[in-house]
């Protein structure tokens, strides 16, 4: 549903987005991860034509965004929740969007209820908190129930309950066949929401793949009554063993089943056997540090 190819943005001689390419398929939530200034928001703005690209192309539903007959009905976008007129009420803001997209006014009440802003709908947006503005932005993006959602840092200002709700919303959207691109610097939020990760650093895509494969496995942690004996047996079988915390052994690159087989063959009694997985934070820093 979203195809980005060779997208590049230069300001003067400075390249802020460098040859970014990816394709987002329906039914998936993709996390767009990167440190501040990595080029996430610029990539999103170029995808929607808000910022002209220096090179490359972006297609939504097979067309450049500007060529979509009614873009708001195809892609719901939240890039900057503060981009609203503070003098309008939440309801007026959404009514204007609804009339532009061409959805009935009753849909405004539905999305207001969906984001729990019904009670504040008649208040001016200038009096909204950041979280309320964020929810108003999400409501605007959902007006036409579009097949594609592109949210930039949607959890900013949301309380834990709101973040959980949003996670359910995005997962539910993907489960109904929708395409979701979620940019965030909140690693926990991304780790629990997305199927796939796009990691950008220094304007370049440094990793692209399913969450599970990117997080990968670092080996196995095993705890035995006779660690020295188990270490010797594992080493004899060619495994690389190093000491872990509190007497545990770390078997680098090994699956728990392989370690368990060696332990069983040697008659070792185990009190712990678990895979070691890198956290998203470790992956993030290792990928973006070099960029």
């Amino acid at each position: 549903m979203i195809t980005v190819s060779g997208l590049t943005k230069q300001y003067g001689g400075r390249t802020v987005v460098d040859d970014v390419s990816f394709t987002l398929e329906p039914g998936t939530v993709t996390g767009f991860l990167g440190p501040n200034g990595a080029g996430k928001t610029t990539t999103m703005r170029m995808t929607t034509g808000l910022v002209p690209s220096t090179a490359g192309s972006a297609f939504v539903d097979g067309r450049p965004y500007a060529a979509l007959p009614n873009p708001g009905a195809v892609m719901g976008t939240l890039i900057d929740a503060s981009a609203v007129h503070p003098g309008r009420t939440g309801r007026t803001h959404l009514r204007l969007l609804a009339d532009t997209i061409g959805v009935p006014a009753s849909r405004v009440d539905e999305v207001l209820e969906l984001v729990a802003l019904t009670g504040a709908a008649r208040r001016r947006i200038g009096g909204y908190s950041l979280g309320m503005r964020q929810r108003l932005g999400i409501a605007g993006a959902l007006l036409a129930d579009p097949p594609v959602l592109m949210f930039d840092e949607p959890a900013n200002g949301l309380d834990p309950e709101g973040i959980r709700w949003m996670r359910g919303l995005l997962r539910g959207h993907a489960a109904r066949g929708g395409t979701v691109l979620l940019s965030s610097h909140l690693l926990g939020e991304v780790e629990h929401t997305v199927d796939r990760l796009l990691v950008i650093g220094g304007g370049r895509i440094v990793a692209d793949g399913p969450v599970a494969s990117l997080l990968g496995s670092d080996g196995t942690s095993v705890r035995s009554a006779d660690p020295a004996g188990l270490a010797a047996d594992l080493a004899a079988k060619g495994f690389e063993v190093s000491p872990g915390d509190d007497g545990a052994l770390v078997v680098v690159g090994a699956a728990p089943g392989d370690v368990g087989a060696v332990a069983a063959a040697g008659g070792h009694m185990l009190s712990e056997l678990r895979p070691l997985q890198r956290g998203l934070e470790d992956v993030f820093f290792s990928l973006t540090a070099a960029a």
């Binding site: 034509g49 061409g102 539910g172």
Partner: protein
């Protein structure tokens, strides 16, 4: 945040295409009048002319020969206020960042600017006519013996001035992209530079002052020159606005 609805209760059917031009013009008018600043400027534009007329007619001790001059001069005050309405319609979007939402829903920037221009022209002419109508009513009450010959033409020219000045404001606002900057620049030019020019180089000022052009049109003199002056002001402002709008990134 207590609900976790992930799908709408019934399918949402959105329009397949972008709104028609008349509908989009209507939306732009609603956008302008859905803020306190927009309403305040519209209200001020409507009230300036009758208020000025009441003060002028009340203070005048000599009988009025014709209504054309007073209607045009007081109407020009309303037209000057309508510059702000145009500026708010375009520069206001950049100042508040709402231009992002506008271009996300209608990425064709030329179309957006065209519909904004149509919207401010409609609002400018309507508010100017209302202002001139109210001013005429005040004049009729306070100067019952005045000749109304040319009064209709004067009101019509104020309608033209309202539309033209609102368009100039919209064009300059789009070009500058900042409400405070656009308002300061345009009023400094209109209320500062042009009056000084009228004193220093009156012949040249007559060839560039849009206010004089409106007055000449209402009085039926220098028709071609007056139309050229107004068209040039509107044209330059609109082209500058269109060029800058197309080039400017929405950050």
């Amino acid at each position: 945040m207590t609900t976790a609805i992930v799908s709408p209760s019934r399918p949402v059917v959105a329009r397949r295409t972008s709104p028609s031009v008349p509908r989009q013009v209507g939306l732009e008018i609603r956008k302008s009048l859905s803020t306190r600043s927009g309403l305040a400027v519209a209200g001020a534009a409507v009230l300036f002319a009758p208020a000025a007329m009441a003060i002028a007619a009340g203070a005048s001790s000599e009988p009025l020969s014709t209504v054309t001059g007073p209607i045009v001069v007081t109407g020009m005050l309303s037209a000057l206020a309508l510059i702000s309405l145009g500026v708010l319609a375009t520069a206001g979007e950049w100042t508040h960042g709402t231009v992002q939402t506008t271009y996300l829903l209608e990425p064709r920037r030329s179309r957006v600017l065209a519909t904004k221009a149509a919207a401010v022209a409609v609002m400018g002419s309507v508010f100017a006519v209302v202002a001139a109508g109210l001013a005429s009513g005040v004049l009729a009450l306070l100067e019952p013996g005045a000749s109304w010959n040319g009064g209709g033409r004067a009101v019509l020219m104020i309608a033209v001035a309202g539309a033209a000045f609102a368009l100039i404001g919209a064009g300059v606002g789009a070009a500058v992209g900042n409400t405070a900057g656009a308002l300061t620049g345009i009023y400094l030019l209109d209320l500062g530079v042009l009056p000084i020019l009228q004193v220093v180089k009156p012949a040249f000022a007559d060839k560039v002052d849009p206010g004089n052009a409106v007055l000449s049109l209402a009085q039926g003199t220098h028709q071609a020159l007056s139309i050229t002056i107004l068209v040039a002001w509107v044209g330059v402002a609109t082209v500058a606005g269109a060029v800058m709008t197309r080039r400017r990134a929405v950050q």
